[in-house]
């Protein structure tokens, strides 16, 4: 048993228990943050993406132990920011959402990319989104959405 303390969506939280559980399960089951999805379960699809210290990670591939002392932001936490509004609108405008299963992960990947590089080239966008799979859109509209978010969100990142 261990006590793991971290910042979750801006609030300090503690979890007592097995440190060898997946961050994904803790977020969904303990904190009822169901915006993140489990897709492949082995770090290849990005549906479970969250931000760890403002960088994208797959919550299915992170154990709770490694989160100790860090800051986690999920799609629910990101939703409170003005940057999220820009990403949401640009995804809507570009038609980058169909079934929606990958979308929370795609939005997290967009935030992680733009936080690191507010003016990405198309190649930067492709690399930034390379760990996130979408079975509906064919990706072009997602790339356009990220481009538009970068333009419309000028100064936010």
């Amino acid at each position: 048993m261990s006590k793991i303390t971290f910042i979750l969506n801006g609030k300090t939280v503690s979890v007592e228990g097995n440190p060898g559980v997946r961050l994904l399960d803790v977020l969904r089951n303990e904190f009822k943050l169901t915006g993140i999805k489990e897709g492949c379960g082995e770090g290849e699809c990005g549906a479970c993406a969250v931000l760890l210290d403002h960088k994208i990670v797959n919550s299915c591939s992170v154990v709770l132990a490694n989160v100790d002392g860090h800051e986690i932001t999920t799609i629910e936490g990101l939703k409170e920011t003005s940057r999220y509004q820009v990403i949401r609108d640009s995804f809507g405008h570009a038609g980058a959402v169909q079934c929606g299963f990958c979308t929370p992960g795609m939005v997290i990947a967009t935030e992680s990319l733009l936080y690191d590089n507010p003016t990405p080239t198309e190649e930067d966008i492709k690399i930034g989104m390379s760990g996130n799979l979408c079975r509906c859109t064919g990706y072009q509209s997602i790339i356009e959405a990220v481009k538009k978010a970068s333009e419309d969100g000028d100064g936010l990142w």
Binding site: S2, P19, G20, G43, L52, S61, V63, N66, G69
Partner: protein, 280 residues
């Protein structure tokens, strides 16, 4: 449930390792996939675990006069931000997995996992990297080709952990890294390749090739490389077929879900040939 400890210092980690065998857990992106069972279940590790990812004292890149020193818990993404990290290694890291994995995965983890398809291993062989293995009592610097002793087997003892990766500063005329996989991101290599050479007074003075995923460990043959030292580019080009067949005799590719013997052999040939064509 096995004992699981979040260690607070390297000193604590080493002292615990002196008492019993532990799984040393860094980023864990391979360990979690290898040990998981079903969704929502805690990972059923078979041995006690030391969680080491948050050891700040092992997160660094330091530059000395002749060597570059990389702390074992430095993530792959962090390595990409240092100018001093060699281009050959950066090219390999940029093609490893995805940003989300690179943000937590480490070089030491890739070494400890000891997969013959570990992508960072291939440039580290070519760069003559040294692996620092530390125990409570002593530390050993092991040349990378001696660190891997068999399929998924390393020279690391149960009481040791990798604390640092040391890379000699090399000035090559040119280097070449290639990864052949099925998808651009998140692919495991069918074959990977890291070559480097230098030329002085129109003669080859340094020539190195490392090939991954074609044998139980990365293939690096100092004896074949030596045949090209002192040769002009023209002489080297004439020896190309001989060199390729020497390498082919030292690879032992397998058929698996990612590729097959014929493909891996042909790609190995092509990559050596392409690298030798870059001699200039």
């Amino acid at each position: 449930m096995v004992e699981q400890i979040i260690v607070k210092s390297v000193e604590e980690a080493l002292s615990r390792l002196s008492e019993r065998k532990y799984i040393i857990y860094a980023g864990g992106t391979d360990l979690i996939v290898q040990n998981r069972t079903v969704s929502e279940a805690p990972i059923p590790f078979k041995n006690p675990v030391l969680y080491c990812a948050n050891l700040k004292e092992l997160k660094y890149v330091k530059e000395g006069d002749d060597y570059l020193y990389i702390g074992a818990m430095t993530t792959l993404s962090e390595l990409l931000t240092y100018e001093s990290v060699p281009k050959l290694l950066k090219e390999a890291i940029e093609q490893m997995a995805s940003p989300a994995i690179r943000n937590i995965a480490t070089l030491a983890g890739n070494l400890g996992n000891a997969s013959p398809a570990g992508d960072s291993l291939v440039p580290l062989y070519t760069l003559n990297a040294l692996i620092k293995c530390q125990s409570v009592k002593a530390s050993r610097l092991i040349p990378i080709q001696d660190f891997f002793v068999g399929l998924k087997k390393t020279a690391l003892t149960d009481s040791e952990m990798i604390t640092e990766i040391i890379i000699p500063k090399n000035r090559f005329k040119s280097t070449m890294y290639r990864k052949v996989g099925t998808r651009k991101a998140d692919a495991l290599s069918k074959v990977s390749f890291a070559g480097a050479y230098s030329i002085v007074h129109d003669k080859i003075c340094d020539f190195r090739i490392s090939i991954g995923a074609v044998n139980v460990t990365v293939v690096r043959r100092f004896d074949i490389e030596a045949k090209l030292i002192g040769k002009t580019i023209e002489q080297a080009q004439k020896m190309k077929n001989q060199i390729i067949s020497l390498y082919l005799s030292s690879i032992k590719p397998i058929n698996d879900q990612r590729s097959n013997i014929e493909y891996r052999t042909q790609v190995t040939k092509n990559l050596i040939s392409a690298f030798m064509d870059t001699l200039d």
